[in-house]
């Protein structure tokens, strides 16, 4: 097992009066894709947002690349090499596809080779290059959202349900793009409900329930154990494809 790039220890998060994360312990190994699974309302999205500082942990430790980040501001955390693909995609609708990627490139100009790589997986983005991103279809917006995470080298990418509401053909495209991203030694922590995507991509898996991690292991082991799936997630994941 590679050493963890990201470690959460006893992380609690409150949103208003609600106690969402109730002592999350999680280690995300460097260079792997860890799937974060769980029922709706288990706290998966809150976990990603807490890592990035969008919601502050009320207690506990979050260590990224050997630095404590729980108390840092979101821009500082992101600048350490973390990209975020939210469930809502978070694209800037009034900006062109190009400008969305220019902003994602932060300090530098767009890298030509990386851009060609993005276009290889998502040719629609080349076609709509100068078009406002708000005019793209749902699938194209998701392509853009993931492309923003691919346009610069990142140490860690946090992805929240990238396949939600997308057509199967587009999901296959996304899976291929994320496999390519894995090849670049990028560590990925991904929330996913689509088991086909989860099984295709996941190296490790962590299952959340009621604001805690209740299972960690290898994705292949969980995929092969129907009884474990039913116990942890309430149903067999094959039914859920």
């Amino acid at each position: 097992m590679p050493e963890p790039l990201l470690t959460l220890a006893g992380v609690h998060t409150h949103i208003g009066q609600y106690h969402i994360l109730q002592g999350v312990d999680l280690a995300v190994p460097r260079g792997e894709l860890t799937m974060l699974l769980g029922r709706n309302g288990a706290g998966k999205t809150t976990a990603l947002r807490t890592i990035l500082g969008l919601w502050k942990a009320s207690s506990g430790s979050i260590r990224f690349d050997q630095a404590e980040i729980a108390a840092r501001e979101t821009p500082d955390i992101a600048s350490m090499g973390i990209a975020y693909v939210p469930e809502t995609m978070g694209i800037f609708a009034g900006l062109s596809v190009k400008d969305n990627l220019v902003l994602a490139a932060r300090e530098s100009a767009l890298d030509e080779a990386r851009l060609e790589n993005v276009f290889r997986f998502f040719p629609a983005l080349r076609k709509f290059w100068f078009l406002p991103a708000g005019l793209l279809s749902g699938g194209q917006k998701q392509m853009l959202s993931i492309s923003r995470a691919m346009i610069e080298p990142r140490k860690l990418v946090l992805i929240d349900e990238p396949t939600k509401g997308l057509a199967p053909a587009i999901i296959n495209n996304l899976i291929e793009a994320l496999k390519e991203l894995k090849q670049t030694d990028t560590t990925i922590l991904m929330v996913e409900q689509n088991f086909h995507a989860a099984r295709s991509l996941g190296d490790g898996v962590a299952v959340m329930d009621s604001g805690r991690i209740v299972h960690t292991g290898r994705m292949a082991d969980l995929a092969a154990d129907e009884a474990l799936q039913t116990r942890l997630l309430g149903l067999s994941l094959d039914v859920h494809q």
Partner: protein, 337 residues
């Protein structure tokens, strides 16, 4: 830079929403038939455009301030008043150049007057953001209360420094009066207002559309959280937007003072009603919407003031109601998340 390929059929085009522009044109055309006299119509149209552009200068910063950080700054009128009063003092200091018959010497009075208004309003804006606004980020009720209180305190300070009386702010000599084109009288200063207003609009559009800072501002207005998640400090950006917005309000205040040729302490508070109308009908956070909204407000105020003076006072409120019934988010709504 990679260009889009043309081997996949014609590229789709972004559609520009032209309806608000057509309405603007429609207002101008309808006014022509209602007024009946071409020369009066030209005079009123130029006056309306000049007034609209001056309101745009004052309002553009406020719409970005609200769009970027959800800050409700009811004290924006303070920067207008500061600009106007600094204009009074500077113009007085350069009164001999302002009174000269030479256009170049007049420019030597006008430039420091406008520059002084911009710099002082910008500096006070920086102080105001740090001391008054920053402690109440994200708290709308407190923002309304403290900025309104700040405005009252600032007006009293202006009383102390410049006195309570109405002060003259004369235009430089060569910018006074009108010139005739056929039988149409065009006030020279209105043309100055048009030139400055269009220059400010062009510069803003250039920055917003062609620079990375501009992209960040536009992105921040849409989705501040995502911009921060990409590693950018929106608060730092906001401080600069606030300072530039205050400086532009100061510039607008000095020009508006010269437009009216006098200044009172209430100049800012009086303009705030029109400014709020403009940024609401334009779409909160939209500079383009603010521009079209300001022109609509300026033109309607002048046309209705001529056609039916009794209705003039309420004409812009009525305009706002009509626009909001049609488009509740304003003429050019920003897709805010």
């Amino acid at each position: 830079m990679t260009q889009p390929s043309d081997d996949q059929g014609p590229l789709p085009q972004a559609r520009i929403d032209t309806i608000p522009l057509l309405i603007l044109a429609g207002v101008v055309i309808v006014a022509f038939f209602l007024i009946g006299s071409a020369s009066t119509w030209v005079t009123l149209t130029i006056a309306g455009v000049a007034m609209g552009l001056l309101i745009f200068i004052m309002a553009s910063g406020l719409t970005l301030v609200f769009g970027l950080m959800d800050v409700m700054n009811f004290a924006h009128g303070l920067f207008i008043a500061i600009g106007a009063y600094v204009g009074v003092s500077t113009m007085k200091a350069f009164s001999s150049a302002a009174g000269s018959e030479s256009f170049l010497e007049n420019l030597g009075a006008l430039a420091p007057t406008l520059l002084g208004a911009v710099v002082v309003a910008g500096l006070i804006g920086a102080f105001f953001e740090r001391v008054i606004i920053r402690p109440v980020y994200g708290q709308h009720l407190k923002q309304i209360l403290i900025t309104t209180g700040g405005m009252i305190v600032a007006e009293q300070l202006i009383h102390v420094i410049w006195g309570p009386d109405l002060l003259p702010l004369p235009r430089p000599e060569t910018l006074r009066g009108s010139f005739l084109v056929g039988d149409v009288a065009i006030e020279k200063f209105r043309l100055v207002a048009v030139v400055v207003g269009l220059s400010v609009f062009a510069a803003m559009m250039l920055v917003l559309n062609r620079t990375k800072i501009g992209l960040l501002i536009r992105a921040g207005v849409e989705n501040k959280e995502m911009v921060e998640a990409m590693g950018y400090r929106v608060r730092r950006l906001f401080v600069w937007v606030f300072i530039v917005g205050s400086a532009l309000a100061g510039l607008g205040g000095a020009l508006w003072g010269m437009y009216q040729e006098n200044v009172t302490v209430h100049i800012g508070a009086q303009m705030m009603v029109l400014i709020f109308i403009v940024i609401i009908i334009g779409g909160l956070g939209s500079v383009g919407g603010c521009f079209v909204g300001a022109l609509l407000v300026g033109l309607v105020a002048n046309y209705v003031g001529y056609l039916s003076p009794k209705v003039a006072l309420g004409s812009n409120i009525l305009l706002m109601m009509i626009v909001l019934f049609w488009r509740p988010q304003g003429l050019y709504p920003v897709n805010r998340q």
